[in-house]
Each structure stands twice: as structure tokens, then as C-alpha cells.
């Protein structure tokens, strides 16, 4: 019941905040958003899952209520956690209160609606990471889009309409593609499954129950479904070449929305890739390992190169997200314990680090009203604490040891270098590693020109240190990043436990 309570409370909180007076909506939202976090921590302490939820592992907090029947299969309210979803649930509930705190300064109109939508999105995100029935999952998945569309479209920057519509069109088209791919799978499974539960479908596919449907051979259907789902989720991740909605959405979105977009929403894509493509259809994933690895490496390098060319601090961070997500894809496709586990760990690590970066850039922007690299210099002079944390976060991005980013990337590289199922694995790994050099290049040069040197910014007001409630979430995030970097095992152990069955599912030729 704890998951229902978690999701239900967040929904109720969203409704209450939605109608609260603007004057204290921000404080109320921050206070109530701590409850889901406490709930997630409690769930963590009581976590008794083992193995992977989709491949017959022990599901923690499993609860299942039959809902409706369609085409001979039951749709159930089916939720539960395993070692892959629990860290993401904790990440979500951890980031939302911080994002809400970071909204206190920049959001000054229609606050109750803003915070209500943030909490509404959190509730749906929790649903996405806990649902184990396709339809429940899909409804939550789509329901995340709606608040995001409004959050960008109403509170965004000058080109917010363009960015919101682009986001909406890209992600909806992707959802449709994915939906068609998955339903094709269920049609081909015929009567061998009697529910839309993800474990049942995974088991049926693994047992070779896919049959010919409308004259299409099972192998073709599986491959087609894999491609459709991969394309659909790739938009969400995003990978090159379907990444173009991301920088627009990030630049126009207000800071707290960017934090959630980069911190959690992108992880929906990689989480779904892991659950659907790589866990359900490992054979197809193995067959397509080389092209997928190529896409991953291209995302890493090309995303970093694009970041290198940007002048807008937010765009730099946005493109570097494309680059970081490339590592996650590489980790998934190599099908090794450290690769898949590292990819999942990197989801959490990147959620924290990119959240920190967007938040810090937002705090600087609140003070300067510009994000352009050439417009300011020597910010360290006026906002030493913020800049200090920003620099620390940037080093986390570059993979400084003892920070979460290092652990995630290190696991991925360990897992991918000697991966037996991926041809030319060392080459792919080496190319991806080169991405870190570019990351260091653009982050250091951007920081060099904006943060250090003599202070230079033309304003008609005094630029001073940021407010306590702006800096506090930054500090909390930095502490979390360091803790996770020093002791990755607090998450990695359960992640590895859940990742192993996925890896064992794949057959390796030669």
C-alpha cells in the first residue's frame, strides 16, 4: 500500500496546492513535497525486493488489483519496486522539493498553479517508475507530458510557445510509435498471455510464445516492435538525431522545470529502454548492438561538440545532457553486469548533477538576467558560494573521482570495454571516453570566462549573493553527489542485483 499512498498523497497535494492562495503556495508546496520523499526513504528502508521485477524477481511492495479486460487480457493496477526502480523513485522525490525551493525566486505569477502542476507531474513520474502493467504505465507516461507542456508553455521564456509545442509534438509522436510497437507484440503473443503485466509479457516472449500474426513472422514482429519502441524512447532520452526538442525546451523552461526535465524526465526514456527493449527483447538488442552503440557514441561526441559551440549557459548544460545520456545507452547495449548496472547508476547520478547545474545556472541568471557567456565575467567575486558549488558540479560532470558522475561513467566503461556481446567494444568505449575530454573543454572554458577574472557585468543594480533558499538546494544536491560518489554501493548493490537477470537473459554468439 505504500506506493499507492505515495502516489495518492502526491496527487492530493497537487490538488490542494492548485487552489491554495499564491501568497504561501510556494512554502506549502515545499512542505508537502517532503512527505513523498520521506515515504520514499521509508520504502527504501523496508525494501525487500530481489532480482529484476520483470524476470521473476521478488517485487517489493507488490500490489495488484484487476481493473478491466480488453481483447482477452486483463489490465490491472499493478505496481511494485525492484532495484532499478527504487533509486529512480528516491531520485524523483528528492529532486522535486529542491526544484520547488529553486522556484521561489524566479516564479512570481500564478504560483499556486505552477506548484500544483509540479506536484501533479511528480505523482505521474512516481507512477511511471512503479507501474508494472503496460496500460497503467502508459497512462502515467502520457500524463507526465500534459503538466510539462503547460509548465513550459505558460511560465517559459520568450519562445515558450514554440518550445512547448515542439516538446509536445515530438514526445507524442514518439509515444504513438512506441505504443504501436508494443501492441504489435501483444497481438503476436496471442492467447499465450492473459494480462498486460510486464513480467507476464517478458516471460512469454522469453518462452518463445511470439507467433505469426497477419502473415508476419514472429522474428519480424519482434524486430519491428523493438525498432518502434527504440525510436519512441530514443526521442525521450534523447539521442542524436531526435534530440532537437531538448535544447529548446530547456532554454525556454523556467529553472525548476529544467531541473525536473533533465533530472527525471530524460530518465523515463532510458528507464523504458531498459525495461522494454533490453529486458523484453534482449535478442533483438544483441542483434542491433553495433548500430545502437554507434548511436550512443555519436550522441556522446556530437552532443559534446554542440555544447562546445554554445554561448548560452543553459544550452551548454542541455547539450551536455545529450552527451551524458549517450553513456547510458552505451552501458545498456553492452549487456554486462557493470554496463547495465552502471547505466542505471548513471541515470541517478546524472539526475543529480544536471539538476545541480541547471539550478546553479538559474541562480546566476536570477542575479544577472543573462546567461550568455560573453556578457558576464568574474561572477565568483559577487556570488562566491553559488559559484563554488557550480564549479564543483561541473567537476562532477567531468567525472571527478569521489563524485557520483565518476562512479557512473567508470562502471559503464568497465562494463563496456570488455563486453563480449558487442563487436569492437574497446573501440566504442575509447571513442565514448574521448567525450569526457570535450566535456572538460567546454565546461572549463565557459567557467573561465564567466566565473573568474575581474567582475564585469553591466547592470543598474547591485549584484549580490543569492538568497539562502536559492543556495540551500544547491548545497544539498552537492552533498548527495559526493555521498553517492564516495559510497556508490548504497544504490549500486541493489541496481546490480536487478541488472544481473537482464544480462543473463542475453545469448552471446561466439
Amino acid at each position: 500500500m505504500i506506493l499507492e499512498a505515495l502516489i495518492g498523497f502526491t496527487f492530493l497535494a497537487a490538488l490542494v496546492v492548485l487552489v491554495a492562495p499564491d501568497a504561501w503556495a510556494g512554502r506549502l508546496a515545499a512542505a508537502v513535497s517532503l512527505v513523498p520523499f520521506a515515504g520514499a526513504l521509508y520504502a527504501w528502508s523496508q525494501f525487500d525486493g530481489a532480482g529484476n521485477a520483470l524476470t521473476g524477481g521478488t517485487i517489493a511492495f507488490e500490489s495488484r488489483v484487476e481493473w478491466i479486460e480488453v481483447g482477452g487480457r486483463t489490465v490491472s493496477w499493478f505496481v511494485g519496486l525492484d532495484g532499478i526502480s527504487l533509486p529512480l523513485v528516491v531520485l524523483t522525490t528528492f529532486l522535486v522539493p529542491l526544484a520547488i525551493l529553486s522556484a521561489w525566486t524566479p516564479i512570481d505569477e500564478r504560483q499556486s498553479q505552477f506548484y500544483g502542476l509540479m506536484l501533479f507531474m511528480e505523482a505521474n513520474l512516481l507512477g511511471v517508475f512503479t507501474a508494472l502493467d503496460f496500460f497503467v504505465w502508459f497512462i502515467f507516461w502520457e500524463a507526465v507530458l500534459v503538466p510539462m507542456y503547460f509548465l513550459i508553455g505558460i511560465w517559459g521564456g520568450p519562445r515558450r510557445k514554440y518550445a512547448a509545442i515542439k516538446f509536445f509534438v515530438y514526445t507524442n509522436a514518439a509515444s504513438l510509435l512506441m505504443f504501436i510497437g508494443f501492441t504489435a507484440l501483444t497481438f503476436a503473443l496471442g492467447e499465450s498471455v492473459d494480462s498486460f503485466g510486464l513480467p507476464a509479457i517478458t516471460a512469454a516472449i522469453a518462452a518463445g510464445e511470439l507467433s505469426t500474426w497477419f502473415g508476419i513472422a514472429p522474428g519480424t514482429i519482434a524486430m519491428g516492435a523493438f525498432l518502434a519502441m527504440f525510436a519512441g524512447f530514443a526521442v525521450k532520452v534523447p539521442v542524436v538525431p531526435v534530440h532537437t526538442w531538448l535544447p529548446d525546451a530547456h532554454v525556454e523552461a523556467p529553472t525548476p522545470v529544467s531541473v525536473l526535465l533533465a533530472g527525471v524526465l530524460l530518465k523515463m526514456g532510458t528507464y523504458a529502454l531498459l525495461r522494454y527493449n533490453f529486458t523484453m527483447l534482449p535478442d533483438q538488442a544483441a542483434a542491433l548492438a553495433v548500430p545502437i552503440a554507434a548511436i550512443a557514441v555519436i550522441s556522446v561526441i556530437y552532443g559534446a561538440m554542440l555544447a562546445l559551440a554554445q554561448k548560452d549557459l543553459k544550452r551548454i548544460v542541455a547539450y551536455s545532457s545529450v552527451s551524458s545520456m549517450g553513456y547510458v545507452i552505451l552501458g545498456l547495449v553492452v549487456f554486462t553486469e557493470y554496463g547495465v548496472g552502471g547505466a542505471t547508476f548513471q541515470m541517478v547520478a546524472h539526475g543529480l548533477i544536471s539538476g545541480l547545474m541547471f539550478m546553479a545556472v538559474g541562480v546566476v541568471y536570477n542575479a544577472t538576467h543573462t546567461r550568455m557567456v560573453g556578457d558576464m565575467a568574474g561572477m565568483a567575486d559577487r556570488m562566491p558560494v553559488t559559484v563554488g558549488i557550480l564549479v564543483a558540479g561541473a567537476f562532477g560532470y567531468m567525472g571527478l573521482p569521489l563524485m557520483a558522475g565518476f562512479a557512473g561513467e567508470f562502471f559503464i566503461f568497465v562494463g563496456s570495454f570488455g563486453a563480449p556481446s558487442l563487436p569492437y567494444a574497446p573501440v566504442f568505449t575509447a571513442l565514448a571516453m574521448f567525450g569526457i575530454v570535450i566535456v572538460a573543454g567546454y565546461l572549463l572554458s565557459a567557467m573561465q570566462s564567466t566565473l573568474f577574472g575581474p567582475f564585469d557585468l553591466e547592470t543598474d543594480y547591485e549584484v549580490g549573493p543569492a538568497a539562502f533558499h536559492d543556495v540551500a538546494p544547491l548545497a544539498v544536491l552537492l552533498v548527495a553527489i559526493i555521498v553517492l560518489g564516495v559510497a556508490p554501493d548504497i544504490f549500486f548493490e541493489m541496481i546490480r542485483d536487478a541488472a544481473l537477470p537482464v544480462v543473463e537473459g542475453v545469448t552471446i554468439d561466439g
Binding site: I68, G71, A143, K161, F187, F214
Partner: protein
């Protein structure tokens, strides 16, 4: 006997609606000088909700269910079964919403009794149509729906658009009524009966040509009532010119009334085996109509500039989806009942989301903010609750989760695929994608666009309470029908399966 009561109790919903219409006239006669919308709206809403409650009560106690058997009345001219009760529930719900909304839409002193009683009498006709078991009753009930509708469309008699729309609707309606009636006479000529079951069992040797022509002409009558191709021309004009609550009533309830004819008459009077063996394959005709109707409706809606006209074409598109219920049928098809039940469930969900959308337009007309997408710009700043409700209707009409329109469409397409009609389901899915474009334009205008001028929204100064209540209720129903879709689809499937 029904629940120990006389058999006519099964007609309670229709009787309650008729009594409500008479009560409305009575209220108006007693107090002709104090013509107030309020007393009318209260009487009308209470009456239609009582009819809804009676429907739910009858369904819940199993009247007309497959186990208990249908209730036949008046020498088999009326047959009350779950199918009829299901549709009556749609009619009663939409009627209640429209009557409540009428309270704020019409000014006092414009003879409100006419509006309320005409809507109620039309609803009575629909309730009768839903249980008609004889072609004679079908025709009489159909006219009972049509005649008040013509008047309602032209209700704003000082408004040129309204009068013109009424005239167009009447001309096309009269023509299609004649065609439908002629079709009935040909069917009678071929089979010698008007009772549906007797038509099915009649020997038609040598007269299949006559029967075939009759069936085709009856399809024309159905196409008119459901606003499907080729008799859809009246719909955009009539919906646009009519007062918005009337448009809501016509596009939701009246359309569903057309479908009850299609669902019941064609499957009962012309069973699938007979249609195939006699070479009058009406399923194929409906399949072509469904494909053309949904495509035409959606693509035409995409190029509209006025919201009400867009909704009119979208309503044609949805008629195309619902036609799948009579199109995707095959002899001994494994999912015949499922696909028709899914179409019925879609019509129920559509009854709420489409009525709600038109009632939002009614609110905009009441405020006088204009008719185009651009006129709706930034409306949510002044009317956040109604705008959120409108967003719910739009996303649900497009078939996006997490709204009931997602399930109703998905179940429909899934059932069509299960019955072997992949192409129809695929076409429906493509059309749904197109529809997202024009539905999201409304949402974009309401929430994302800035008002054309700072004073553009000053017209939004009144809070029409009853209209608000109706819109919000429809939105809540649209959301809650997603978790509560189970009982709806189960009832609908059981009702439809009884026909095969």
C-alpha cells in the same frame, strides 16, 4: 412483469422524460408572467436525472439483461433490453447537462419553456427510439426526435445564422426522412413485416433486390441522423448556426440516437448471415462510410478557423469511429459483440466530452469573446477552471491518456483488429493523430497564446454558474470514466452481444 411491477415499468425512463416535458409546459402555463429560466432548468434537470436514475436502476436490477430476457411490450412493438437502457442513459445524461446549461445561455423572457420542453420531448423520442422493435415505431420515434430538433436549431429567431441553419437542417432532414420511410416500405414489401425479428425470419425469395434497395435507403436515414457521409452536409451549418447548447444536444444525443437505429435495426432485422447470403452486405457499406466519414471529418476539422465549426467536423469524425461498431462485423466474427459494445462505450464517453466542449463554446458565446481560435487566446487567465475543463475535453477527444477518450478509442480499435479489420483500426489511428493537431490548437489558444489586446478579455465579466456546473461535471465524468471504464464496457459488451 418487471421487478414485480407491471411490464410498462420498463418504459419508466421514456415516461419520465415525457412527463418532464409536460411538467415544463405546465409550469410555464401557471406562471406565464414570471418567465424564469431557473424554475424551468430545475424541473428539466430533475426530470432528466430521474430518467437517468430510472435507467440505472433498471439496468442494475437486470431488466432486459441476457439472463432475464428482454421485456416486450405493445405486441412486440417495443423491446426493452440492456442496449436500449444503455443508450437511454446517454440521452438522459446529455439532456440533463444541456438543460442545466440552458439556464445561463438564454435570457429570461425569450420563451424559455419552448427550449426546455422541446429538448425534453426530443429526448423522449430518443428514449423510445432506443427500445423500438418495429420499423413503424422506429420511424415515429425518429420524427419525434427530428421535429423538435429543427425548431431548436432555429431557436434564435432574430439571428440569421440560426434561422438559415434551421432551414438547411429541415430540408436535408425532410429529404432523408422520406428516403428512410421509402426504404422501410420496400423492406415491408419484401418481407411483409415491420417487427424486426419477423423481418429477419421472413422468406424473401426473389425479392432480394427490393430488400437490398430498402436497406440501402435505410442506411441513408441512419447516415443523416448520425451526420455521416454522404448526409453530413447539414451538420457543420446546423451546429454552427444553432445555439451552442442545442449543438451540444444534436451532436451528442441525437447522433447517438442515429446509432441506436443502426446497431439494433440492422443486426436484428437483417442478420449478418442473411445479409451475406442475400448479397446485401450492409456491413461493407458501413465500413466504407466509416472510413470516408472519419477521414473527411478529421481533415476538414483541421482547416477550420472557428472553434464551433471545428467541433462540428470533429463530430463527423467521431461518427466515423462509432460506425466501426456496425462496420467491423463478420459472420461468426469472434468479436462482433465486443466491437459494437466498444462503439457504444465510445458514444457514452463521447456524450460527456463532446457535450462539455460545446457547452464551453456556449460559455464563450455567452461572454461574447468571439468564435475563432484567436479569439480564445489567453482565456484561461480569466476563466481557469473552465479552460482546464476544455483542455480535458480536447485531449480526451483526441484520445490521449489519462482521459476516458483514450480507453474508449483503444477498446474500439482493439476490437476491430480482433475481428479482422486491421485496416479500419489503422485508419482510425491515423485519423486520431490528425485530430490531435486541431484539438491541441484550442488548448494552445487558451493557455499559451496572449490575448490579442489587453481589453480583449474584458467581456469575461460574468460567471454563469449553471454553465460552469455543467462543464465541470462533464469534465469530471470524462476523467472518472477512465478508472470507471470497466462497468461501462462490460454492460455495453453484454448488451451488444445479445444482438448476435
Amino acid at each position: 412483469m418487471v421487478n414485480g411491477l407491471p411490464g410498462v415499468t420498463a418504459l419508466l425512463p421514456a415516461l419520465l422524460l415525457a412527463a418532464t416535458g409536460l411538467a415544463l409546459l405546465l409550469v410555464d402555463t401557471i406562471r406565464p408572467d414570471a418567465r424564469s429560466n431557473t424554475s424551468m432548468a430545475i424541473v428539466g434537470a430533475v426530470g432528466s436525472l430521474a430518467a437517468l436514475a430510472a435507467t440505472v436502476w433498471l439496468t442494475a436490477t437486470g431488466v432486459g439483461s441476457a439472463d432475464a430476457g428482454a421485456v416486450y411490450l405493445f405486441s412486440d412493438a417495443v423491446k426493452v433490453d440492456t442496449l436500449g437502457l444503455f443508450f437511454t442513459a446517454i440521452f438522459a445524461s446529455v439532456t440533463a447537462l444541456v438543460l442545466v446549461a440552458g439556464h445561463d445561455y438564454f435570457d429570461d423572457g425569450v420563451n424559455p419553456a419552448a427550449f426546455y420542453s422541446l429538448v425534453t420531448f426530443a429526448a423522449t423520442g430518443m428514449a423510445l427510439l432506443a427500445v423500438a422493435n418495429s420499423l413503424a415505431v422506429v420511424f415515429v420515434a425518429l420524427e419525434m426526435v427530428s421535429l423538435p430538433s429543427y425548431v431548436l436549431v432555429a431557436y434564435l429567431k432574430q439571428n440569421r445564422g440560426s434561422v438559415e441553419a434551421g432551414l438547411k437542417y429541415f430540408l436535408v432532414g425532410a429529404l432523408s426522412s422520406a428516403i428512410f420511410l421509402f426504404g422501410i416500405s420496400l423492406v415491408y414489401a419484401a418481407t411483409g413485416s415491420l417487427i424486426l425479428a419477423d423481418i429477419a425470419s421472413a422468406s424473401i425469395e426473389g425479392l432480394t433486390g427490393v430488400l437490398g434497395v430498402g436497406i440501402v435507403m435505410m442506411i441513408g436515414g441512419v447516415a443523416f441522423k448520425t451526420a455521416s457521409v454522404p448526409f453530413h452536409f447539414w451538420a457543420p451549418e446546423a451546429y454552427e448556426g444553432a445555439p451552442a447548447p442545442v449543438s451540444a444536444f444534436l451532436s451528442s444525443a441525437s447522433k447517438a440516437a442515429g446509432f441506436v437505429v443502426a446497431f439494433r435495426v440492422f443486426t436484428e432485422a437483417f442478420p449478418l448471415e442473411m445479409a451475406v447470403s442475400a448479397n446485401v452486405d450492409w456491413m461493407l457499406a458501413f465500413a466504407i462510410l466509416a472510413a470516408v466519414t472519419m477521414t473527411l471529418g478529421n481533415f476538414a476539422a483541421a482547416v477550420q478557423e472557428e472553434v464551433k465549426r471545428m467541433l462540428a467536423y470533429s463530430s463527423i469524425g467521431h461518427a466515423g469511429y462509432a460506425l466501426i461498431g456496425v462496420a467491423a462485423l463478420t459472420v461468426d466474427g469472434p468479436a462482433n459483440g465486443t466491437v459494437m459494445g466498444a462503439a457504444m462505450a465510445h458514444l457514452l464517453v463521447y456524450g460527456f466530452m463532446n457535450t462539455g466542449a460545446f457547452l464551453f463554446v456556449a460559455m464563450a458565446e455567452r461572454w461574447g469573446v468571439g468564435r475563432t481560435f484567436a479569439d480564445y487566446a489567453g482565456l484561461w487567465r480569466r476563466a481557469p477552471v473552465a479552460s482546464v475543463a476544455m483542455a480535458v475535453f480536447m485531449f480526451s477527444l483526441a484520445g490521449l491518456p489519462p482521459f476516458a477518450g483514450f480507453f474508449s478509442k483503444y477498446f474500439l480499435f482493439q476490437a476491430a483488429i480482433d475481428n479482422g479489420f486491421v485496416w479500419l483500426a489503422g485508419l482510425g489511428a491515423i485519423n486520431s493523430v490528425v485530430s490531435l493537431y486541431y484539438y491541441s490548437r484550442v488548448v494552445k489558444a487558451l493557455f499559451l497564446d496572449d490575448p490579442a489586446s489587453p481589453t480583449a478579455l474584458d467581456a469575461v465579466d460574468v460567471r454563469p454558474t449553471a454553465l460552469y456546473a455543467a462543464v465541470v461535471f462533464a469534465a469530471v465524468a470524462t476523467v472518472l470514466l477512465l478508472p470507471g471504464f470497466g462497468p461501462v464496457i462490460e454492460t455495453a459488451e453484454a448488451a451488444a452481444s445479445a444482438l448476435f
